[in-house]
Amino acid sequence: MAIKVDDISYLYERDTAMQVRALDHVSVEIPDNQFIGLIGHTGSGKSTFVQTLNGLLKVTEGHIYYNGEDIDGEKFDKKKLRSDVGLVFQYPEHQLFEVDVLSDVCYGPKNLGMSDEEAKKVALEALESVKMPKALYKSSPFDLSGGQKRRAAIAGVLAMKPRMLILDEPTAGLDPRGRDEILGLIAEMKRALNMTIILVSHSMDDVARYVDRIMVMGGGKLLYDDEPVKVFRHVRELEELGLSAPQVTYIMTLLKERGLDVNTDVLNVKDAAAEILAHRRELHV
């Protein structure tokens, strides 16, 4: 299972004065079982891009192939695509509507034609994956806290057993603790469920710790597509896009500029500390 995006463009308000080219000739391949961070400033086209991936938006130009099949082809089963490529929108808690958490999570599986028992079974699994406390299964989704609501909504998509999960700004509007919880949860899901995850964000610090690959979008174009450490070598260019590299990258870059020969390709505080300690002799000079 892989998605191949071949030179796609997307236009909003086509043929009016307000026409906007939200995607500008993007080509990319998304293989199995990869953890990808999709980074871009507001209006860079990242949300539009992920919506084209599961066929919610029809591309204006170009093609998207899912397992070699064109998703805009006549015989293509879009419902199957939408269950295989799960998309969790920004503020997903706004889609909750059922009387209790469990029935809300059952909504997706039931739409796929599962029986009540089957739906309940996968819903329970999904709720367990997102670490929802059992006591809350029967409470109204509107009584939950912000972080819990979000987890319930993620479970709602997870219950459809997607092979690829796209999360659009899953940490938006959460406090730092809620943010770390959700990100930790996603990383854990990646390990446990062995699927491709695309994490959409505008914060490098959010994704740097977890992902194998980073795609940077700006002005509707795919600007960088590489391993995190390689992308972060372009600190200056990223800043021009209104983005920033992780904070440790800044420290290491500054140290290097001041003459300390450290390796700047580190992504977390622990590695950075080790790297600096390894050069402590030079520090005393």
Binding site: D15, L56, R82, S83, G86, H94, Q95, F97, Y107, L112
Partner: protein, 266 residues
């Protein structure tokens, strides 16, 4: 998803009509609507159509954009025409099964179609060139005399502008929720009526909740800025008539006079 609904949505551009005082446009639109009922002959409709054509030209809004908005009411137009065509009693000129087309009906249907199209085009020219805020400002200003008889003019205008302001927001919200539910396998395109109604629940519940949430936030924000009704409020952009507004009023008067003349002559 709502790309097709352009009927009466503000079109951002620069033109004489856009810069005109909204009160002139509001009064003008009413005058135009009345004039459509004043004239009652082919030359009269030609005059009204010509006037509208000049206005469309002046508005700088692409004609294609306006026509695309008309598509949404085409259905209404067809029904009206059909009813008039077949249900007006009179001299029968064409017959099929239980349908009888009459000469009077044909006349009436053509007249009705022209009148309705001009009516809708005429009023959409106003909303295409005037922002909702300007429109409510104009309404508030024009209704000011009613304050003397204790009509809460400011409150009505405020409610209207809030309602208008929320239409695009709720539309966007609907689009978002719809997409989110489609991503969860919802089917909004089902032909089955019962299924269709059922599929609305996952859309309407979140939509209502978000509408209440937004209303609550707005009320809080207004209170935090000490809003307490219209008493003593001043405007950032007060409405002042300029010379071009006076010219516009004069043109309107001439047009209206011409319409009355048409009525008398033909």
């Amino acid at each position: 998803m709502f790309d097709s609904i352009t009927l009466g949505q503000y079109y951002q551009t620069d033109s004489v009509l856009h810069r005109l005082d909204p009160r002139v446009k509001l009064v003008g639109t009413f005058a135009y609507l009345i004039s459509l009922f004043v004239v009652d002959s082919l030359p009269g409709y030609l005059l009204a159509a010509l006037f509208l054509a000049v206005m469309i030209k002046l508005s700088n809004v692409p004609f294609r954009y306006i026509v695309r908005g008309m598509k949404t009411i085409l259905f209404l137009l067809i029904i009206t025409v059909c009813f008039n065509l077949f249900l007006t009693p009179g001299e029968v000129i064409w017959e099929f099964w239980i349908f009888k087309m009459t000469r009077e009906g044909l006349n009436f249907a053509i007249k009705m179609a022209i009148r309705l199209s001009l009516l809708i085009l005429g009023s959409s020219i106003m909303t295409l060139t005037t922002t909702p805020t300007q429109l409510t400002d104009a309404l508030e200003s024009l209704m000011r005399p009613l304050k003397k008889v204790r009509v809460p003019v400011h409150e009505i205008a405020m409610m209207m502008s809030i309602a208008l302001r929320f239409i695009p927001i709720l539309m966007e919200e609907t689009d978002k929720i719809m997409k989110a539910q489609i991503a969860r396998g919802a089917d909004f395109e089902s032909r089955n009526l019962i299924k269709k109604i059922k599929s609305m629940v996952p859309l309407l519940v979140p939509l209502f909740i978000s509408a209440f949430r937004r209303a609550n936030d707005l009320a809080m924000a207004m209170e935090a800025r000490c809003y307490r009704g219209g008493e003593g409020r001043t405007k950032m952009k007060p409405l002042v008539y300029s010379s071009k507004d006076r010219v516009a009023y004069l043109i309107l008067l001439l047009f209206f006079a011409a319409c009355i003349a048409m009525r008398i002559l033909f």
